[in-house]
Amino acid sequence: MIYTGQFLIIFSLLNNFISLLIFFYNLKTKSLLIEKIFLFLTRLNTLLIFLAFLFLMYLYIISDFRNINVFFNSHIDKPLIYKISGVWGNHEGSLLLWILIMSIYTFVFSFNRSLDNKTKNLTIFFQTTMILGFLVFMLLTSNPFIVNLSNISQGMGLNPILQDPALAIHPPLLYFGYVGYSLILSFALAGLINNKIEISWIKTAKKYSMFCWLMLTFGITAGSYWAYYELGWGGWWFWDPVENASLMPWLAGIALVHSLQIANNNTQIKKWVIFLSILCFSLSLFGTFLVRSGVLMSVHAFANDSYRGIFILIIFFIVTGFSFLIFLIKTNTIEKEPSVLVFNKFTALIINNIVMTIACFTVMLGTIYPILLETVTNERITVGAPYFNSTVVPIVLPGLLLMAIAPTLAWKNNKLNEKKSYLTIFLLIIFLLLATYMFSDQNLWGLIGISVGIWIIIASIIQLFKKNAKKQIRLYGGLISHIGVGILILGITISSIWQKEFIVNIEVGEEIIVNNYKLKFENLKESKDQNYVSLKSKFIISNKTNKIGEIEAEKRYYPVSKTVTTEAGILHQIQRDIYVVLGENLNNEWLIKVYFNPFISFIWIGAFIMAIGGFISLGRK
């Protein structure tokens, strides 16, 4: 019974292998029956992996510590939800999730009817090959089903910092984005080899790339929200290498989604689309390599094993190298200059692509530069937030300015519909910006950020409600996403520039004034939960006259792993978060940190709206 997982994985391995053989066999015979068998095996494979995954989950739920993976990452006293999320809270289990999601995409894709069989089968073939590669990797270096029959009654427990609802859903969401790009890569290669980058190809690619991108958006948002309240640093994005690893495919994904809009008739753009399709998954793999190999220090210290690292590096090299090789061989055909010199939608989308690609490689440079340098000169440096903030922000700025009006630009000619109104709004905002800057001492970047955000929101809303909206219904998704971006920019700008941080000493029962608010330390309670001891502090916030709300900041001690985690207490308001972290105790006085984060909720609202916009555009025909 305990060996079920091993069996399922080996079964799936064989199944994949047979699939590949059948595929090659069928290249000559082209029999329809064999094709059906090929599809059947593909679907069967998804079932096998799914069962293996369920089995691992089952082991976690019943806390069967004979499984080494469960032993290392679970504990009897853990709440059920974290027993389940523990499945992917570790290297081995998350690799199984990775393979599962890869197969699910293949499974869904195998039901596609709009494509010609050749492209479809070739795509599935590439997927199967990659799944096989990952299965081998898992079996050789990171098998989650290793059994130890000695009698163990208790496990080591999951890292407490990971025991959190946002983090329970963060990896699956992220993987649905990350791993989904594998299908797009396979699909691009198949289309390339068959010379079939046509309307049906583009349509299918649009759907999948949009879905992957929006899942990635959800995943990154969940992760950053978690970082916000769990790490207790008052920030939400740290330019941590792992965050960058997810940001790179996300940026490339934006470029992909947009370039697919203009791919229809232009060979040059089609080539670019193929490049981006390959790039997205390559960046996902590369990010995975950075996280799992231990070449970088990060919050997400996963598996530090250079053997594993070399394995992932080789997978990355084979997949990416092979893809770009096909790209090199197959795209030497016709060259036709696109007409980029006119100011139309086409140009705007190209600018979007240029901006996103440059931003993506800027992030990449900052992430890998320390390693390059250390390999060559043995010198160690750290590239941190200042680099990223001062490069990425100016790079994306022109794209942001353009995105507000890009959806209304005409496709062919040089005409901007309702030119006057946009120009008026734009000039008005510029004027307000300059006036505020001249007559106050506010931060210039802050003002620019606010102006850009408002500009995008207003321009997009106008288009949304324009009278001829009926004609433009297919643009709704895009416009809503753009409004989301505007809100996101407002949130990022205001919260990062006007954040206020206070560090104060306070006794229980004492009342102090912080940033014109009264903060009363109401009480301090110790309590015991299922798997941790908690110290909860209650604060009451009031302004001059009224009570605004209560905040509970918490510290948790997890006896199993002997770690303390902080749970920041946050009073969420639309216009501001008040964020309290309970620190150390020094002779009856408690050190607390209080952050005032204006408009920070806009970040998550904006990101959410962006993803919703993506969902809406999935629905269009």
């Binding site: 231990g294 250079s306 070399i310 590096l313 250390e374």
Partner: protein, 173 residues
């Protein structure tokens, strides 16, 4: 010209692959950064000697001689593992000075620990850990080698094994 654009992604992939492969094969561990003190003057310190009563050790003692400084403690089990290697080093290189720095330890425990053999010429007592702080010690055991001018020419985190001795230390002493 147009082919160059097509080749760039492939070449770039190859480049990344090589760099990271070299990096991984060099077996660098980001958790163990190289000491910031490398090629710098040794930090000043002053401490009493664990064994010789009323003897004060400071950094001047190691000028003019190649010196191996080893941070250890009786409670640190990797230190026990590396101890025989240190004894061997002291036997093989009689011309160098071996200084132990006993980190956050009890005197009696430390003396007990040294019953298996004492490779050190002097042992500085660092019960507060302030010397370790000045040296930027990451974890025990940690070893530094200084040249005749008191400049740190080598540092290593973790126990010194036969392999590390042969590959990195032997030529320096």
């Amino acid at each position: 010209m147009k082919n160059i654009f097509n080749k760039i992604p492939l070449l770039f992939t190859l480049f990344l692959f090589c760099v990271f492969l070299i990096f991984l094969l060099q077996d660098k561990n980001p958790a163990h950064p190289p000491s910031a003190l490398l090629n710098k003057e040794i930090p000043r310190f002053q401490a009493e000697d664990l064994i010789k009563n009323n003897f004060i050790i400071d950094e001047k003692i190691l000028y003019g001689k190649k010196t191996l400084i080893n941070f250890f403690a009786s409670w640190c089990s990797p230190c026990k593992v590396e101890h025989p290697m240190l004894i061997e080093i002291s036997e093989r290189h009689s011309d160098i000075l071996l200084i132990g720095i006993n980190h956050k330890d009890k005197k009696s425990d430390a003396l007990n620990f040294l019953k298996i053999g004492n490779p050190y010429e002097h042992i500085a007592v660092d019960s507060e850990g302030s010397i370790a702080m000045n040296f930027g010690v990451f974890g025990l055991p940690e070893t530094f080698i200084t040249n005749e001018k008191g400049k740190i020419i080598f540092s290593h985190i973790g126990p010194i094994t036969e392999k590390i001795y042969n590959e990195k230390i032997k030529n320096l002493l």
